[in-house]
């Protein structure tokens, strides 16, 4: 039996180089203005999976992502770097999912890929920064979770030992398998795309993408079935409609504020008790703390 590693990844708007047009007037992210990228910590997660595969040739790495059609780009990206295959969870019914609904859909997809040994994801995505999806998925799957992983110290068919990067140090923990780990950005960066794999997998497409292609390489997909990326809908996952998308998402965004820091807003304080007391009052008063 192959050692199956499932990498959960997300395509996100590149919020690291935010320009003036990054937010729309209504306070939501202007996705059109930001390039869509492979969520950085998910790349660290992919590297962990691939480095396991370097050591265990019978391991296979499967990339799982949820998103619109174009999210297939990150499946190809993962294939260029060494992933064996990928699946795209895509359905209008998933639109508006918060972390609860997302982890529900992901857990169904992971179950569909059973038996699996390891699920690896990035700690958090740079668009939402919640760090909830990994842990929630593990809960739904009923498997142990190790968050903030920096390094996989050792691994065999039944057990994994992981070093975690915490705020004030590190911690080494072990767990039985299957388990889910979320990877921290201090872990090894992801390897580069590999030339020949890129040329081999660059034609990989989902059925929806193929329908929109202008160039017709139809025969290619009969000859090379590995170039077809499977798409899974809510129905394929036998998902309960109520738990999906907006209806499955208790998170409600009340208000979004565009905060621009300006130099004039800085204040100088002395180290006297009086000044500190005053600052505390202000912070409590504006509900920043307390």
């Amino acid at each position: 039996m192959r050692f199956r590693i499932i990498v959960l990844a997300k395509q996100v708007p590149d919020t690291r180089n935010v320009g003036k047009d990054a937010m729309k007037a209504d306070g939501t992210v202007n996705r059109a203005a930001l390039p869509a990228i492979f969520n950085p910590e998910d790349l660290h997660a992919l590297e962990q999976a691939l480095s396991i595969k370097d050591k265990l040739p019978y391991a296979e790495v499967i990339l799982l992502t949820m998103g619109p059609t174009r999210a297939a780009e990150i499946i190809r990206e993962a294939m260029y770097r060494g992933a064996d295959q990928g699946f795209l969870i895509t359905d209008r019914k998933f639109a508006g999912s918060d972390t609860l609904a997302t982890s529900y859909a992901l857990s169904l997809a992971v179950r569909k890929l059973a038996p699996y040994h390891l699920v690896i994801s990035g700690r958090q995505a740079i668009d939402g920064d919640t760090a909830q999806v990994g842990p929630q998925t593990a809960e739904k799957l009923g498997i142990p979770q190790i968050t903030y992983a920096e390094e996989i110290r050792s691994l065999d068919a039944k057990k994994i030992i992981v070093k975690r990067r915490l705020e004030r140090g590190v911690e080494v923990v072990n767990s039985t398998l299957p388990a889910l780990i979320t990877v921290h950005s201090s872990a090894a960066p992801c390897r580069q795309r590999i030339g020949k794999r890129l040329m081999k997998f660059k034609h990989a497409r989902t059925v929806t993408e193929l329908q929109n292609e202008t160039k017709d390489y139809t025969e290619l997909y009969t000859e090379r079935p590995y170039l077809l990326i499977e798409e899974w809908s809510a129905e394929d996952l036998k998902a309960d409609a109520v738990s999906l998308g907006l209806s499955g998402s208790p998170t409600k965004v009340k208000k979004i504020e565009n905060v621009v820091f300006q130099l004039k807003e800085s204040k100088s304080l002395s180290n006297s008790d009086k000044d500190i007391e005053k600052l505390m009052q202000t912070l409590i008063g504006s509900h920043i703390i307390g």
Partner: protein, 567 residues
């Protein structure tokens, strides 16, 4: 994310030149490999798309790994440990990244685990890597040695050595000796055939060998006892695993410090003969040197690009007398001249690479089937163009990058003279380009033949027959006038029938020809994209003024005045 390919749109412009369709078709044997290799292109667009994507990987590795390592590599250099070369840690990381990305064996056929890329993208890879770290570009560029094995060695040697490149084997070409630098005919390293061991053994010393402790080395040696000229030399391949060569020292150089320059001692080192004896220098090394000169061309363009970017950035940020220095004519003129020169150098670089691709492409096809008469003619035509353009490229681009690095430091002022910015490293690294793989003076010796036999003149006249947009006609008019002026000047010098006089003016004549030929290249670039209209205009006007000055000097210099210069 820094990407040295995607941030420079000139590269894609040259990668998608109209001649590429023929080049790729030849290289891909009419797209016949797609059934055998799942990464072979399906058609022309697919091939260009693959090249584009491979360049993106290379651009990312260059921008994100090689460039950030360049400073430490320059500082650490390579070390000699137990008579072996240990790369600077940064150099090793660069090499490892390229090996892991599977990019070595760039031009090798797929049957030897290569990527089967044409020379145009390969030369482009050299430019990109050089912009990141010109010294490291030597280690990357020495995969040229694989081409020599592919072209001239037996099937047995090809099977033994070629697949190792993609796995990360490094290479070196061991030519120079203490008494054989520019004059390689004087090579003395001895090759003797041991009838008991059934192999060749090498004995002697090589000096100034770039990457001398490589896994695979091509060694020029004297196999014919008692000979003293080129006809006694053969080319061998030596495998580092045989452990019969010691590195005596690593030279302490002005620049390209990450590229170890070694003195090697061969003691009964077993080696295998490439091709036939006696053809080592006259055939195989000549071919290798042409590739190496193309390599220095790409290195020069990469260095120039790096210097120009540094200078532009600094000139925009640095304020004096209340405004950014880029606003002053003395500074912006320098920057624009740099840019124009780089456009010209780059155009010459990829034009030469295309010629090499075309004639090598036909050579490659001729192994499978007999070429048709018109194909043979094409092949010869492009080989001749490659021979004509290679020395011009090496001369013009290496001198150009030194000028550009010099001016870039000037723009930095005192700050540029300090070790605080990369520009001083670029300046030091650039200095070697006019020297190695044949000095500028030797490039003139190679190029002057085509001044004498009318080769360049006929290329200029052919170029003037190609149509251009109406708004560019005036530039073509200038180039035609420059061509006639060049022809008259050569004729006039020839009338004296004085060889020394002709040799005395050789560099001036070659540079006149370069101004015209590069002018034509930029003119046709401008014809293809408006982006180059300004560069073509400035380049041709400046070139014309330079040629007028040269002619005025030549006209005022009688053959007997050559004596005034004798030392």
């Amino acid at each position: 994310m820094e990407n040295f390919y995607t941030d420079n749109p000139h590269l894609k412009f040259h990668l998608t030149h109209p001649l590429m369709a023929r080049i790729v078709k030849l290289k891909e044997s009419d797209y016949s490999q797609k059934d055998k290799y799942d990464f072979a292109p399906l058609d022309y667009e697919d091939a260009i798309d693959s090249y584009d994507k491979i360049m993106e990987i290379l651009g990312e590795i260059s921008g994100e790994i090689i460039a950030p390592n360049a400073e430490s590599v320059d500082k650490d250099g390579a070390q000699l440990v137990n008579n072996q070369v240990k790369y600077a840690p940064g150099t090793q990381r660069n090499h490892d990244a390229l090996v892991k990305a599977g990019l070595i064996g760039f031009t090798l056929p797929r049957e030897y685990d290569g990527l089967n890329m044409p020379h145009v993208p390969y030369v482009m890879s050299g430019e990109i890597v050089s912009r990141a770290d010109a010294g490291f570009a030597n280690i990357w560029g020495l995969q040229d040695c694989a081409e020599t094995i592919l072209e001239f060695a037996s099937d047995e040697l090809k099977a033994e050595f070629l697949p190792r490149f993609n796995k990360g084997a490094t290479a070196a070409m061991d030519l120079t000796e203490p008494d054989a630098g520019s004059d390689l005919q004087a090579v003395q390293l001895k090759a003797t055939y041991d009838t008991r061991l059934h192999c060749w053994l090498l004995d002697g010393v090589k000096r100034f060998i770039t990457n001398g402790d490589a896994d695979i080395s091509l060694v020029l040696a004297r196999s014919e006892e008692g000979t003293t000229d080129a006809r006694g030399l053969s080319l061998f391949v030596y495998d580092r695993k045989d452990n019969a060569v010691t590195v005596r020292r690593i030279e302490n150089k002005l620049g390209i410090k990450g590229s170890p320059t070694c003195e090697l001692v061969f003691r009964r080192a077993p080696a295998k003969l490439i091709g036939d004896t006696k053809l080592g220098l006259i055939k195989y090394v000549m071919s290798l040197m042409n590739s190496a000169r193309l390599g220095v061309g790409s290195q020069s363009v990469g260095l120039a690009e790096a210097a120009y970017r540094e200078a532009c950035k600094y000139a925009t940020e640095r304020e004096q007398f209340g405004k950014a220095i880029i606003k002053y004519p003395a500074v912006y003129e320098m920057l624009t001249n740099m840019k124009v020169k780089i456009d010209g150098m780059r155009s010459l670089l990829y034009e030469t690479a295309r010629y090499v691709d075309l004639y090598k492409g036909y050579n490659f096809v001729s192994r499978e089937r007999k070429l048709e008469a018109d194909e043979r003619q094409e092949s010869k035509h492009y080989q001749k163009l490659a021979d004509m353009f290679t020395p011009l490229l090496k001369l013009y681009s290496s001198e150009g990058c030194n000028q550009i690095a010099y001016d870039a430091i000037q723009i930095f002022g005192g700050t540029g003279y300090m070790k605080d910015f990369p520009i001083e490293r670029i300046y030091r690294d650039a200095r070697i380009t006019t020297i190695y793989e044949g000095t500028s003076q030797l490039q003139v010796v190679a190029a002057i033949r085509y001044v004498g036999n009318g080769g360049y003149l006929s290329v200029m006249r052919d170029r003037s027959l190609l149509p251009v947009k109406r708004e560019l006609e005036y530039l073509k008019g200038s180039l035609e006038k420059m061509t006639e002026q060049f022809a008259r000047t050569v004729e006039k010098i020839n009338e004296y029938g004085d060889n020394e006089y002709f040799e005395f003016h050789a560099r001036r004549l070659v540079e006149m020809a370069a101004n015209i030929l590069i002018g034509y290249l930029l003119l046709y670039d401008a014809n293809r994209s408006d982006e180059y209209a300004l560069s073509a205009d400035i380049y041709i006007r400046k070139g014309r003024a330079e040629n007028v000055a040269t002619v005025s000097f030549i006209n005022n210099c009688h053959p007997k005045e050559v004596n005034d210069y004798k030392h």
